[in-house]
Subunit: 154 residues, 4 copies
Amino acid sequence: MSPANTNFANEVRKSFARQSLMRLIGADLSLVEPGVVEIILRYRADLTQQNGYVHAGIVTAIADTACGYAAFTLMPAGSAVLSVEFKVNLLRPAAGETFLAHAEVIKPGKTLTVVRADVFALNGSKRTLVATMQGTMICLPTMPETRHEPSSSR
Amino acid sequence: MSPANTNFANEVRKSFARQSLMRLIGADLSLVEPGVVEIILRYRADLTQQNGYVHAGIVTAIADTACGYAAFTLMPAGSAVLSVEFKVNLLRPAAGETFLAHAEVIKPGKTLTVVRADVFALNGSKRTLVATMQGTMICLPTMPETRHEPSSSR
Amino acid sequence: MSPANTNFANEVRKSFARQSLMRLIGADLSLVEPGVVEIILRYRADLTQQNGYVHAGIVTAIADTACGYAAFTLMPAGSAVLSVEFKVNLLRPAAGETFLAHAEVIKPGKTLTVVRADVFALNGSKRTLVATMQGTMICLPTMPETRHEPSSSR
Amino acid sequence: MSPANTNFANEVRKSFARQSLMRLIGADLSLVEPGVVEIILRYRADLTQQNGYVHAGIVTAIADTACGYAAFTLMPAGSAVLSVEFKVNLLRPAAGETFLAHAEVIKPGKTLTVVRADVFALNGSKRTLVATMQGTMICLPTMPETRHEPSSSR
């Protein structure tokens, strides 16, 4: 898939840097290519549910962010991306040292882009699929000014 | 729906207290009844995505936790609950002072319980539906020992 | 919810009459109101899966059609509606004399409308929830000519 | 993935033959391998929605049946399979001469098996992805007697 915006990688990185949740949980972008984005997260005890596994909401957060930016890489310059919906199957407990969300565009579109993400637990050289997401992202031609300035909007 | 475990409210509260993610994001249980659980979250700038809205992963985290415990209220004593899958439609940007996830059991079952959660943004006296989840929870008769001791399992 | 198109009920009925699948399976529109549509289907042995229950694809067909038209009732005159995605939880075997799909708009929108449908099995005076759908419909300002003439497009 | 039941292909074919809906719509099994099942459907005007495309319910019917049997190939002899839930993204209008549903097991399990199906429209030598399903199937150790004899249960 060929990007409409040759500056897509920079725009993804700038937007990701504004996601304060990614900073809070310690997630990083590890790959940005046309239609494909990966995010890495290290296990932390404060990200877990009652059994000590990484919480499904955090697994979803990195999968959703990877999906949104995978879609965004193919959108025209000046666009904004929002999640419309996603479905997650939790395949195995999210136990591991590190987690990798790998997202790919299945079907790009002018308005709607359908994406998929797999989330793997990495333990040494072992890679285990722990969750898979299928979702829809929407391209907004431009975001209203106030949305870029959340402090003034509240 | 009548609970199989008369101590369900205590067990939900004890399990919720072990979810370190809920502590990290500042979420609290606000209602625990048979088949119904509510969770409250206050807006914080460090929980947001690139436009200053609360991140879909955090909206999902409170909806999923509410769904899991709504299912758990109807399970026999000694059970454990895990999320099998969920689907989330993000209806409006998650902008607000406070967020309420309200989860209800649609269909209880010995193994699988189907649940729904609505997430509302609360602004003063105004309540706006921002997301809705439909998901499946599984009842495990008992959790393996090591899962209750996450520190020893890593 | 107030319809943008005062002729919505006629347009739903005309469009439904063009759904040849509904004729094949014997489904009928039983309610058309702003944001709400119901479809009735009678049990037939040729609509079943391997255990004699109505096939999940048929349960989905009536739920999806009801969802699409529930969204369509709120769209401007001259619009077309297509399904973007849906998720179905199959709660109980679809066993019954008659099936009712009741769809409601959760969140109308200029482009995307989020809908929900419950499918009930009716046995005498007993009504059992057998499936629930959560989905997204898209409003297309006009359909390309050829789409209205399927025979010429193949 | 290695099948627990060496007779899996026969059992899939026997069960498929009992799905009277597949006969009604003219669908056929075209591939049965461990963890993978394909179903072929020819376009028929009586399977369409209002614009002449194959109805989403029919697309879902072949995807769901392929998913169920893909899961079933890996289940022990004597098991029964039922659909728990599925999510379908409709990527393009289902226009074509023939449709192929290709289902694969993502994660087999003793109770729950997670599956994915892609549905392609085939036009001459061109193959277009029109829908994708992500779902969950459940293995029932044995089905109650009456479920195998649908005529006696109604």
